[in-house]
């Protein structure tokens, strides 16, 4: 009886052996060779994608811990899903300690790369592109880690996502840095997640630039402890092309940095320019919900010192023209819905002289039509709170050295 011996079993007793490298060239049979390598890889192995275009008709998946998938570069090794006929994403990762680097995913029918329950994952120099530009038929998320502890996204680029380009959901210990998000509905979105750093990203030509959301009815809720610093959030003015029904379909064209629900979000040292609805928007969850565990309010969102223009000159809001007239042609940079949990728990704090305006809504879920716009009057913030220990674990950064 001839048997195929599973490599992982051999490895278990021979751990010191060097990791094996499985090199996959594009061309005839590459889809099968690649998927087979992803299945047979042992922990510690590297699956190398040579330069070229890999034509794929089915989604790929990786379920082995500690594997690195490495291409020749995001412009050179391309997983092309234009002809995809099955699966909900291009690549699905369900194992821990995986590193994805130096390759691209193009035109997946659903999400680009999804990693679910995959702790300590690194996305480095990954590109996900829908090559036809912004279209409602494009997949939802480009880079999509969810239900994971330890996420690092660096030097990556996503464009064309009909929901969020870089989306981190129901996760913790997250860093998204030095990445580019363009031509998506949401550039970067941190949702129902905690302990996240979003820094040094270039976010442009999206409907909304950077979103920090917390939504009800999900297994993981209570988003917070998010630091948004040193990002360039400019020219996010693409008409919203999200399929209706999705939460981001409600994001107005021209939103810079938006926080919905969440506690303790610190926004500082960003350059926020040419986002003509609102450079900054802080709101409670806008819809009805039935979930006793959920807090719909923004709590302690701090908008500190940022480089920001005079404000919004073409707001995608009901009654926008009247608003502009009322505020003398420009809405000041900070927009708040006026809702907070209680008097002791301010939704928003800022520095004196940071101008803004409030919708002055009086209850969660209230229609914008009932807004009574007026100048912003919120407390000044005190000392920054402790943010030690947030962001991706150091071990993930060390993998890139």
């Amino acid at each position: 009886m001839k048997r195929l011996i599973m490599a992982a079993a051999l490895l278990a007793s021979a751990a010191p052996l060097a990791a094996e490298i499985h090199t996959i060239a594009p061309g005839e049979g590459s889809a099968e060779r690649l998927q087979e390598a992803l299945i047979l890889a042992a922990p510690g192995d590297e699956v190398v994608l040579e330069a070229g275009r890999f034509v794929l008709t089915d989604g790929l998946s990786l379920d082995v811990e500690g594997v690195t998938v490495r291409g020749a570069g995001p412009a050179l090794s391309i997983l092309d899903f234009t002809a995809q006929a099955g699966a909900g994403e291009g690549l699905l990762v369900t194992s821990d300690n995986v590193t994805l680097r130096d390759f691209a995913v193009e035109n997946p029918k659903g999400d680009g790369i999804k990693s679910k329950g995959a702790d300590n994952i690194v996305y480095h120099r990954i590109r996900v592109t829908w090559t036809g530009g912004p279209k409602a038929e494009n997949g939802a998320y480009g880079i999509y880690p969810v239900e994971s502890t330890g996420v690092l996204v660096s030097h990556s680029e996503v464009s064309g996502a009909s929901d969020a380009g870089i989306y981190v959901g129901q996760s913790s210990k997250i860093t998204v840095r030095n990445s580019i998000a363009t031509d998506n509905v949401a550039g970067i979105e941190i949702e129902n997640s905690r302990d996240a750093i979003v820094t040094q990203n270039y976010v442009t030509r999206n409907t909304g630039g950077i979103l920090v959301f917390d939504l009800p009815g999900l297994p993981v809720m209570g988003g917070g402890n998010v630091l948004i610093t040193n990002n360039l959030v400019a020219g996010n003015n693409t008409p919203n092309f999200a399929p209706p029904g999705n939460i981001v379909a409600g994001v107005p064209r021209g939103t810079g940095i938006m926080v919905m629900a969440n506690e303790q979000v610190w926004i500082e040292d960003n350059v926020v320019q040419d986002n003509p609805t609102a450079p900054f928007m802080v709101v409670a969850y806008t819809q009805q919900f039935d979930d006793a565990r959920y807090n719909p309010f923004a709590r302690e969102v701090v908008i500190a010192d940022n480089v920001v223009d005079a404000g919004a000159t073409d707001p995608d809001l009901p009654g926008g023209a009247m608003l502009l007239a009322a505020f003398g042609g420009t809405l000041p940079p900070i927009m708040w819905d006026g809702l907070q949990q209680d008097a002791d728990t301010p939704a928003l704090l800022t520095i004196p002289g940071n101008p803004g305006w409030s919708l002055n809504l009086s209850r969660q879920g209230q229609s914008l039509a009932e807004a009574q716009p007026g100048p912003l009057d919120v407390p000044a913030y005190g000392q920054p709170w402790m943010m030690d220990g947030i962001g991706a674990p150091a071990e993930l950064e060390a993998r890139l050295k």
Binding site: L17, I39, G110, Y144
Partner: protein
Amino acid sequence: MRRGLGLLAVACATLGAALSHAGVTQAPAVNDAVILEEGFARALSEYGFFANGAQQLPGAGVTPYALNTPLWSDGAEKLRFIYLPQGTQLVADADGLLQFPVGAAIIKTFAFGEGKARRLIETRLLLHRKDGWTALPYRWNAEQTEATLALAGGRIDLTTPAGEAISYAIPNKNQCKACHSKDGVVIPIGPKARNLSAEWLGQMAKRGVLDTVPAGADSLPDWRNHATGPAAPLARAYLDVNCAHCHQPGGGASNSGLDLRWEQDDPHAIGIMKRPVAAGRGAGGHEFSILPGAPDQSILLYRMDSAEPGIAMPEIGKSSVDREGGAVVRRWILEMQQ
């Protein structure tokens, strides 16, 4: 060299051995070692599950079974078997789940075509090893003499019983796990006591290969009555069997918050007035998974009624639309009070 043997080399080496199995009609003993050992047998015949593979005649210790409400897979005919090693039995646990002994196997063959035109496409195995369950797909050859390991899955053009020409997808090993997984561990999902007939369970108990017929057995409705039976139990059974392996806590789609298990009784959890989370264009412009009384405004049915990747649910295991399943779910949503 740690892993010198390429799959192809093994394939060539096993070809002779595999062919020698073809045409064997006398019931051989199942090879327990092949089930239990590390590694993956290259050919289905190595296990010895069938007295005659092409005719799907089970060997000794291999018992056919059927489900009250089955998983739909492009209309494939399914031939299901369980294998229990000599002297072992199934044990019904408190939840009515059947616990399989180590060394057991669950075997499911997918076929299309009636009578002499029937073609076996693939056989999927779940092997219960000492360290847990392993899921493996085997693809039948054109001659129908052997099925060989298809770790990376594959596609085959065929016509469904509904007359649709499709590219049928054989799942890869990881995709097997995508459905057969809870909290990252591979588990069987089909043979639950509630979805097995009391008659079959009774026979198994009588033979001594099942310790007892558990409470709650045979409670899922018989899908053969789908056109005329009460909509609610049929729809809930259908969603349990076709969707809940992912859509439950710990399942592959847990992050959606949608829980379609038979036992779930929270209306929001099963999708009623539940807004989408990560549906993308799968939402189809609708606001709720289920809008009572309005099947055409319900995301759940919109996705069931699509075969387009990125929209279609389930995401894997279907290349066409189950019109009968959709009709039952439509009937159920229509009946709901608005």
